[in-house]
């Protein structure tokens, strides 16, 4: 039996180009995905995410640049290479008349060293649906079956294209645990998602792609200088919601604490979420956290109190559910 070394990164992309007619879907992307990490690709629809991933999966032919996936050019990949990757595509609706157990066992036979189908069915939480035909599964269950088929071959590298679309929160959390478990076993995972909380929970690093280019690439906590961005401090004063943006939230809180000499009503300290950073990166909305400008609302703010300017972040997405995220970490 021969062995093969898996030295080098799982994915290496240099100056990747792909155009459809005049449209440059991918316009010079560089990426390196290390072995054993979860790498998330974020970006608006049409930014070139799926095109990039489908080039890496061997479905599309690039127009320029160098691509190496598990040390192989996916365009020249053979069946052996395909046995080392797992692919979970968007929107597949096939094998409708076969049961979950039949499909998983059938796909296991394609691979030289598959996982145990029963373990995989348990892992994706479809044990009680084993004898159910695919057609009768809910959207989230279908998606979990897709993931089961993606991981059945014991891939070194797993591609997940928007895997949790249509999941309820409980199923999504269970799914996250599954993905983290796969990572802990050494599987490299490349993930695209529209859910920023998902990227934050799962990804070791993430790249934001806009107009076919990588505009930011870092760990979720540091993406787009997130760590150095200002925090928002919120409280209630005389029945009015108040908030300020500041680079020194601790000093703000101590000011407030001194004024109340006790509990500050409804005190919250909020850091910009990944979603705030993401939205500012893709330029759909320039967040006030970047600018530190004073806004009209809320009324009643006393500028003399603090040196940081106040602003209204009520409209900013992501701020509505900070507690959930806090408890997840």
């Amino acid at each position: 039996m021969t062995t093969q070394t898996s030295a080098g990164p799982a994915i290496r992309v240099r100056d990747l180009h792909k155009h459809y007619g005049p449209k440059r879907a991918v316009d010079g992307i560089d990426l390196t995905v290390e072995r054993g990490e979860i790498f998330a690709v974020l970006g608006p629809n049409g930014a070139g995410k799926t095109t990039t991933i489908e080039i890496l999966e061997g479905f599309r032919v690039r127009d320029g640049g160098d691509v190496s996936v598990l040390g192989v050019d996916p365009h020249r990949a053979d069946a052996h290479w395909r046995s080392r990757i797992g692919v979970v595509l968007q929107s597949v609706d096939d094998q409708a008349e076969l049961t979950v157990g039949e499909v998983v066992r059938h796909f296991a036979r394609y691979y030289p060293d598959p996982r145990d189908p029963d373990e995989v069915i348990d892992a994706v939480g479809l044990r009680d649906k084993e004898r159910t035909r695919s057609r009768q599964l809910s959207g989230g269950q279908r998606r979990r079956l897709d993931v089961a088929l993606g991981m059945i071959g014991r891939p070194e590298l797993l591609f997940l294209d928007e895997p949790t679309t249509g999941f309820d929160p409980e199923a999504r959390h269970a799914f996250w645990e599954l993905i983290l478990d796969l990572r802990d076993q050494g599987t490299t995972i490349l993930l695209t998602t529209h859910y920023l909380d998902e990227a934050e929970r799962l990804a070791d690093r993430c790249a934001v792609i806009v107009d076919g280019r990588v505009v930011a690439l870092d760990a979720p906590a540091s993406l787009g200088d997130r760590a150095s961005r200002h925090a928002v401090v919120r409280w209630t004063e005389e029945g009015v919601a108040r908030q300020v943006t500041t680079a020194t939230p601790t000093s703000v809180v101590s000011h407030l604490a001194a004024r109340w000499s006790g509990e500050v009503p409804d005190l919250q300290v909020l850091r910009p979420t990944l979603e705030d950073v993401y939205l500012s990166l893709i330029g759909e909305r320039s967040l006030a956290t970047d600018e530190d400008t004073t806004q009209g609302a809320p009324a009643g703010h006393d500028p003399a109190l603090l040196d940081a300017a106040a602003l209204d972040l009520n409209a900013a997405p992501g701020l509505g559910a900070p507690d959930l995220k806090g408890s997840l970490r």
Partner: protein
């Protein structure tokens, strides 16, 4: 954090040392082709509408023709004549082969492509040859099962005499085998024509219907206008029906053949030509993804 459902996943010893992973041999083409045949048959048998339309269609049509035209012992041709049911049986056999090979394969691949099933398969190590061999294997098995059922019904329900000599059954076997393979291969090639899975039935069914009308399945071939006979001669169904007539009709029926002969050589040549052209076209034009998928 709640208990992860993934806790049961066992790690391999190799994943502790991810730098070295043993390369195991891929499953063999034969094993995968048999596995594909098995799963295709299982899927097919569960699609009740497809089974009814394709599997039972020739039996239902034979029942209608034998009942309507064969009333009061009516016959075809000069005395003593051939019972109507017997005369139409070869056409029903041929049309059954066309349905379970060409129509079944063309529609099922078009739908599988539309649903993303083919794209999913493309991302696995399954060799394309195993997919096609699985199609052919499942079509051969379902086609033979369909023919068996049709002949049993013809014999037991409609009292149609079946051939008794080995050479006729040999002819039956090669026309059935060649016709099924040709139909399946042409189905693969034709599967790229419908723009979507939904339109597949609308594109494939009329072709099959027209071929049935001009190829002597529903009418006596000799009673068709000669231009229609000539058009039909360009397509395989006419030759399959003619080959099957040579199996199921007595030699007296040769008097009703426009060619005055069963033309076995020509039947083999036309079916063989379609087989080759279909194979080349199918390999060259096959798409794993939808047209709108880049």
């Amino acid at each position: 954090m709640t208990t992860a459902p993934a806790a049961g996943l066992t790690a391999r010893a190799t994943s502790d040392a991810p730098a070295v992973r043993p390369v195991r041999p891929l499953p063999s083409l034969l094993a995968l082709s048999i596995e594909r045949t098995r799963i295709e048959l299982r899927q097919y048998s569960r699609e009740r509408d497809a089974v009814v339309f394709i599997f039972a269609y020739p039996i239902i049509m034979l029942a209608i023709f034998a009942t309507v035209f064969g009333q009061d012992g009516a016959t075809v041709g000069p005395e003593p004549g051939i019972p109507f049911g017997q005369y139409f049986l070869p056409g029903m056999v041929a049309t059954g082969v066309l349905l379970s090979s060409f129509q079944n394969v063309a529609m099922s691949i078009a739908i599988a492509r539309d649903e993303g099933a083919l794209k999913r398969l493309r991302a696995t190590p399954l060799p394309p040859a195993a997919y096609f061999l699985g199609k052919v294997g499942s079509v051969l098995i379902s086609s033979f099962a369909q023919m068996g059922l049709l002949l049993v019904v013809a014999r037991l329900v409609f009292g149609i005499d079946l051939p008794t000599t080995a050479d006729r059954w040999l002819t039956f076997a090669w026309v059935l085998l060649l016709g099924t393979a040709t139909g399946a291969v042409c189905g693969v090639a034709f599967s790229s024509v419908p723009r979507s899975g939904k339109s597949a039935s609308a594109v494939v069914t009329p072709i099959v219907l027209v071929l049935q009308f001009i190829s002597g399945v529903f009418f006596m071939f000799s009673s068709l206008p000669s231009w229609m006979q000539q058009v039909a001669s360009l397509f395989p169904l006419k030759w399959m029906a003619q080959g099957m007539r040579s199996v199921f009709l007595p030699d007296t029926a040769l008097a009703m053949e426009p060619a005055g002969s069963w033309e076995h050589g020509m039947t083999a040549a036309v079916l063989g030509a379609y087989l080759l052209v279909g194979l080349v076209l199918g390999v060259r034009t096959f798409r794993w993804r939808r047209r709108d998928d880049g």
